[in-house]
């Protein structure tokens, strides 16, 4: 219990008083007891009792960890993590090129950021992911629910309905091609109504509502434990206009990022954020860079940048801990987010034949 008093989560005024009174380690605090403590540093007995409870909690947490108990700590060997990662699923995007450069799809327990100019398809990808996360496991999905936090008001329900209908149709075609028991059973629950009813939609109008929503999200997620995706569409929008104090903005964003990574880790869900682009004016030329500043760039684990090249939409993987940087083309069809089609093949045959990612996974499950 030799924890230094400065490293305990107490208020700064209390810490200053403890330091002035000569307390060095947590053990001394625990030995003094609440009455002695309130006498020594001149605080009320209730405050002393509260402080000692905090100290006791920290120290008992330490002791449990030293004794080897697991508790709520997130400590394991790399081997266990490797096994966990290999067993984890991905959320596919229906664009196989994008899934390939991401290493299988959007990864759970990580924050993925999608940046792009207006109109390039960020919200479309978010809506596609909110539908794709619900694909049953026998079709290669993770069978989870989705939380959609909207700050820009760009969520169109009829568009989601179109995407969901196309997804259900796709799964139905696969089930018909491979006549299997669990496919039919899964199809019964996987319908348009069930997809729409498992997307939880929140609308936040300014940054305070957004912060409050994110800090209240753990309680919501512990009630709805099947949530596997949290989408925040437009994290830049509330923080960019009408914010005078830039250092406050950086602090709030960093705190938000840490909270999101805790959510992603504890609930095993993927967090997807969309960001805007801004212009950085350099010496000779100006470039488009993601908004919200340099320090925000460290918040996301995986960063995708969507941009235009004449009339072709391209996606670049800019930052990833396990995949190489690369660029692929994609397109947005009435059915949603898709690969760029070679012009000769029609949509229907493509969905039954050329979807090599889905086949191997089901064969493994046999």
């Amino acid at each position: 219990m030799q924890r230094a008093v400065g490293s305990l989560p107490l208020g700064p005024a209390l810490r200053a008083r403890l330091a002035a009174a000569g307390f060095q380690t947590a053990q001394e605090l625990l030995d003094t007891g609440p009455c002695g403590l309130s006498r020594e540093i001149g605080i009320s007995k209730e405050e002393a009792l509260e402080a000692l409870q905090v100290v006791r909690q920290e120290c008992s947490g330490d002791a449990a960890r030293t004794a080897g108990g697991a508790g709520t700590t997130r400590k394991c060997t790399a081997l266990e993590l490797l096994e966990e990662e290999q067993a984890q699923g991905f959320i596919i995007t229906f664009c196989s090129a994008l899934d390939n450069i991401l290493g299988g799809g959007v990864q759970l327990t990580k924050i993925t950021e999608v940046c792009g100019a207006p109109g390039v398809g960020k919200t479309q990808l978010c809506m596609q992911l909110a539908v794709d996360v619900q694909i049953p496991e026998c079709f290669g999905g993770v069978c989870g629910e989705a939380v959609f936090i909207d700050t820009e008001g760009s969520f169109m329900v009829d568009r989601v309905a179109d995407i969901a209908a196309a997804c259900v149709q796709h799964c139905r075609l696969i089930a018909e091609a491979h006549q299997e028991e669990d496919h039919q059973k899964a199809l019964e629950t996987f319908s348009l109504e069930s997809i729409l009813s498992h997307i939880y939609y929140f609308r936040c109008r300014d940054y305070i509502e957004l912060l409050a929503q994110v800090y209240l999200l753990p309680d919501f997620l512990s009630e709805h434990s099947k949530v596997r995706l949290v989408v925040i569409d437009g994290i830049a929008f509330p923080f960019r206009h009408d914010f005078e104090d830039l250092s406050l903005r950086t602090r709030l964003l960093n705190g938000l990022a840490q909270q999101l990574i805790i959510i992603a880790n504890d609930h095993k869900s993927a967090v997807v954020l969309t960001n805007q682009m801004t212009t950085r004016i350099g010496q000779s030329q100006s470039t488009l860079v993601p908004a919200l500043g340099e320090s925000w760039g460290h918040a996301a684990t995986v960063r995708l940048i969507f941009h235009w090249d004449k009339s072709q939409r391209l996606a670049t993987l800019y930052k990833s801990p396990s995949q190489k940087e690369s660029t692929i083309p994609y397109t947005i069809t009435p059915h949603g987010f898709r690969d760029v089609q070679p012009p000769a093949v029609t949509q229907n045959t493509e969905s039954t034949e050329m979807n090599p990612r889905k086949r191997p996974r089901r064969e493994e499950e046999k």
């Binding site: 490293s7 960890r65 394991c76 060997t77 340099e294 801990p321």
Partner: protein, 307 residues
Amino acid sequence: MSPRSAPCPTRCLSARQALVAVRRVLLAQFSAFPANGADLYEELKSSTAILPTGSPSLDQLLDSGLYTGEVTELMGAPGSGKTQVCLSIAASVSLGLKQHVLFLDSTGGFTASRLYQMLQAQAEDEEEQAVGDTALSQLEALQRIQVARVFDVYEMLSALQEVRDRLSQQAVSCTGPLKTVVIDSVSAVIHPLLGGRQSEGLAIMMQLARELKMLAKEFSLAVVVTNQVTRDSSTGLLKPALGRSWSFVPSTRVLLESKGAAWEEATTRRSASLAKSPRQPTGMQVELDIGNSDVQEPSPATPTEGL
């Protein structure tokens, strides 16, 4: 400890003697004694180890590797390869030296499959003539790397405290010889606390700094931390985050930069330059490739000395 002044002379004398004795004890316990330079050198030679980072050009930059007893910092913009270099260090120490590594991850960027890739690549490089199963040695290497996910500065402090307790109790069975602590992104947990008018963030940061230095010095560990960069509002240049107070904590600072100008050019080549070092001239630069398999150099790197 504070003897009261007594009325009669005999007790007064004994009180003074007691004071003198107490003073002697205090001096013996708390004052610093001068040490012989030669003794100090011998002690350093026997207790300091130099750990390879898994990349020969980075070793060259750091004067043959990571020194135990010191804090080394890697800083860079997002996507510059800090996590990759940390994974490479963990892989090299665990596989090459067969020692335990503690990895504190505060950003969620630790990917075990990438670490496994690096281990495989390093095993191929070193031992072509190895007997039997390299796969088993890779799995053992994975087991020697302990990963703790700490997303809050207090959790990080408790994790470090736990390391200190375990090392001082000499519990050898579970930890084994722990020589390296890698902290991926110390700035991710401290940055939200800094700034504004309260100085609490600075106090916590200094507490963390003290813990790291104490761990490094007392138990001869090599501590590697990663830091972010921010943009200086007046000059527009990139500078390391966490400010001036933190800049005194690490003894060596390496800046990682991407070779391509912007995100439009995708490249796996990075350049590492020395920003602060007690042994080498600053301004030395080498090239790294955080490619598919390993952090290695693409071609013989020529260190450019100069300021």
